[in-house]
Symmetry: D2
Subunit: 328 residues, 4 copies
């Protein structure tokens, strides 16, 4: 049985609290959050105790920390947990600042502490099966990758202002997926974007619609498109073209009911958003983390994966501003 | 918190043990089974205690019994539990003998004890959404119903011999579904069948392929087809035709990966069998039972539903033998 | 180049006129119809001449007659054409009276004239590919067959009164499809039906909704369901279950556009009715007939196929009336 | 009845010969081609006469010329036909040289002769319905466009060498589709590509895999991906994202047969190549041309559309070479 302390008490903390409560080998002991009411609510729901961070790091019974507090606290908490020798599960991103992200990645290397980065989509049953099929050679050599990733509606502009922007907050998941699927690092990045959904996002200095092209050293091509709005729900698709064929990952639906009437042939829309679509992925990423801690294996997603995705996001902003291809 | 005792320690007991362990308001206290090893294994897995039946009925702390022991014990256990005043969750069928089934249904009526029958498919997310759509008037008046229900492969012939036969063991689920979807009782039953999958099934006196037609007083028509074999997995589909259109419930798949290559356009097969397909339904039927016990409501599926489905199964055998339509 | 005379000048005559005009080896020389205006319109459209029937049978330049006049004229025209030595393409049914149908089938046998019956669905690209796949052993031994056949809306009651009724007019196509797909003759027939679409159809002595079950000597089972109404268009589907898997023929759509919005995931409905769905089949059945005439082969669909489908339709009416299984 | 002369006697000449032979208001009078055997074969097949170009331009009975000879003859023939006052149907591209293309576009403007450019995909039933749905406001304001266009296998390298390269020969269709769907001109072009299919293509100085991004003045984004190889057939898809939803155009299949077995759930692949997929489009584009000639309307696709697509293809090569965004 692994004892966990969780940093954070927001929406994603409730997801992780749920997966921890269902896991037979995990026990949520502590919840840490500066807002006492939120901390108490989460702690009560999952039968844990609210404590200060110091208690967590001093308690030798704590095996692992799960960091899902605001982004600007991630790297600091990773550092403290690493120095306290706790296994670390951290939500993406490591940090919005690449230098700070690299700094804590170095600390992880020095301390040898296990640090797992929460790129949950790698654990989605469909995306994972897609990856396994590719690895098994079903399409031969991969040539083209197309990633479609659209949110049902934009977050509040107040959130966008502190989020690091579309590339660091939203597309970073797709950049990680691209690295994972391509199996080699992109060496060329081109990004373009527009503000088409809400002018307030442009006023906040960001875009809400983006198209990015990546190219690897061996010539593999990747296209990613993002929008902060999809009237039909959370649109999460991936397509791989290889020498022997194509693999596609389609959206998930709530049920398999189909209606045919004078209006047409109508099926369910994609699941509404990430909580609905990725709940199985959250369960499976926790399992992966628990396995790594228990068996002493390397994490399936490392802090380096977090750093590299952030480097690509930064390159996207550079390309967006200059209009030019960025060579890495 | 409701305290449960579970009768049975086989495959389906493991399913109910799992759903009980996940439910926040349910506690599995006792496991009862004549085979000590099996009982111990289930009890250990779900942190319960192995006891004799007498202990269960004498323990006032037990709120409910979950009966998933062999079919020939169902009606006896229902009777004892009813007399002991325990809420009852019983797997289908009530009994293979219609008189005995009616007898215990009478006892339930007299004692007023809550008795829920485990026709799990009513709680499948797709079938339930189909039903809700129909109830909401999406296709207007229902005219035709087509139920396809095929197992991936036949059970051992030893099981078939004690199962009550295809109509009482397998199609009984579809007969319940037909009653539920039609919203009125069938008054005409015609059945035909063959042994096409395995000659040993014919030697055991049963069929493995069947087609049944039902008709209600208002003229609604229903077709059910069953096979003990489907090379592509568990085939569970329903189609409703109404004046305004059609509703279809398609099979569920493990993931949404699609491959296109020289061999064709290939998607995942349906989920393999009932444990895979109906796990969400098992969770939801337990929730329904817990809600009924807690809130004092009538059960969503009653012992009368069990009796009526058995009457239809008996009529199917009568029609199969005579070649004639049976009028109810 | 084959010279044709066409009997009839209605809707289906326009279909055959069109396919004849497109065929490089066919020439429509004459049109015969008791209504001069209709005859003239069709003749003008396809550059033919209006004549009396006698002219057709006396003209040695006429190689073939295409009979698409009203049903009650079919057997008489077949007889005359056979005696005149013309190759015959006749729309279904041969006759509504089984004795008369058998009589002209005998004449065809005696004269040795080529007589092709227009069961057009055998030539539909999807149904034909389904049949070829079955013949090639893709599902191994066929066990169950399910045919769904629903018209978008009922014909005028005046037509129904002279049509021979649902089984002889509408389901006869499905009965032919069943015989073709099963590859052996049904020996048991059970039929039930209702009037759910329009009470005027019941007043005219017919049903508008039907379910039929067929069984062959080897135990293959077949279900056919018909409705005179499908709000979503012409519903023409077939499903084959065999030991190695299932083959399904889905409906055809006008285009492959799909819309996803807040209302759902919406595709095109099936093509509206038989003219839209079966236009490729009409072209291909003409090709089959021309090939038989040119190469002296047996027809792909013979007058015996027409007689046997009619026998099954008659058995359906017998079962509908008696409620009993009819043994052939 | 319009009299046509056709320049060219290759594969696409056979397509146009076929559509002309089926059209009730078109008559193919002459075929012109420097290879007498090829010319004779086409002329014989469609009952036309082989003549020299001079005969065509001197014959006042000729209403229209259909140019499907090699690309390097297009602009010269357009010029001569324009000066002879013949209506012109020309296969894409106008010319591989942008100056020459602009020159003949000017001549068309000066002479006022009707000149229709054969961007056949605009007439595909699915793409056309997609466009109509967008125009009707089904997705509101268009924000993103994704075009997937992959050939089943590359043409001979000898052809690639004279083709103008992937952007001018293959993607030019997609660039036209982009302009048509976007409804405004791209002002930014970024292209990248690789040679992944066949090294001989790289040796010939071209690429076989490409990803292009376009942006319009109002910020609409467009992605096009091309490959010279798709093991599963001709992949022709379009996706439109708008404020109210998404519209997708899927591939066409030969039939609607679906097989489910132990290997999976298998449907037909997309139609193999352009002759199979776009035959209905070829018929409809001829109809559009005939309508324009007959009714004196502007052509649905003009020579200016040909010039503008070529400008975009040239910009793609410029971006591919420089790695930079090209601003138009």
């Amino acid at each position: 049985m692994l004892n966990f302390a969780m940093f954070g008490a927001g929406r994603i903390a409730n997801v992780h609290g749920q997966t921890l409560s269902e896991h037979p080998d995990a026990n949520l002991k502590y919840v840490v959050d500066p807002f006492p009411d939120a901390a108490m609510a989460v702690a009560k729901k999952f039968q844990a105790k609210v404590v200060d961070a110091d208690v967590v790091f001093a308690d030798s019974a704590i095996d692992a920390v799960l960091i899902c507090s605001p982004t600007d606290t991630h790297s600091g908490l990773i550092e403290k947990a690493a120095l306290a020798g706790k296994a670390i599960f951290c939500e993406k991103p490591v940090d919005l600042d690449i230098d700070r992200a690299r700094h804590v990645a170095d600390i992880i290397k020095e301390t040898g502490v296990l640090c797992f980065l929460g790129f949950n989509r790698r654990f989605d049953p469909t995306f994972n099966a897609l990856y396994q099929d590719k690895q098994a050679g079903r399409i031969g050599n991969l040539e083209q990758l197309v990633i479609t990733s659209r949110d049902p509606s934009p977050p509040p502009v107040s959130y966008i202002k502190v989020s690091g922007g579309l590339f660091r907050d939203m597309m970073i998941h797709d950049l990680d997926m691209a690295r994972w699927m391509l199996g080699e690092e992109p060496v060329e990045v081109h990004a373009t974007g527009s503000c088409l959904v809400d002018p307030a996002i442009a006023e906040a200095g960001d875009i809400d619609s983006a198209m990015v092209t990546l190219k690897t050293a061996s010539g593999k091509l990747c296209h990613i498109n993002n929008s902060r709005r999809a009237a039909y729900g959370y649109d999460q698709r991936i397509e791989l073209l290889g020498e022997k064929g194509m693999l596609q990952a389609a959206n998930h639906k709530e049920n398999e009911v189909r209606y045919l009437g004078s209006e047409g042939d109508i099926s369910e829309k994609p699941l509404h958003f990430f909580l609905e679509r990725y709940m199985p992925a959250y369960r499976r990423e926790l399992q992966s983390f628990v396995d790594s801690v228990t068996e002493g294996n390397k994490p399936d997603v490392s802090i380096d994966d977090g750093v590299k995705a952030l480097e690509l996001a930064d390159a996207c902003y550079q390309s967006l501003k200059s209009g030019q291809t960025v060579y890495l």
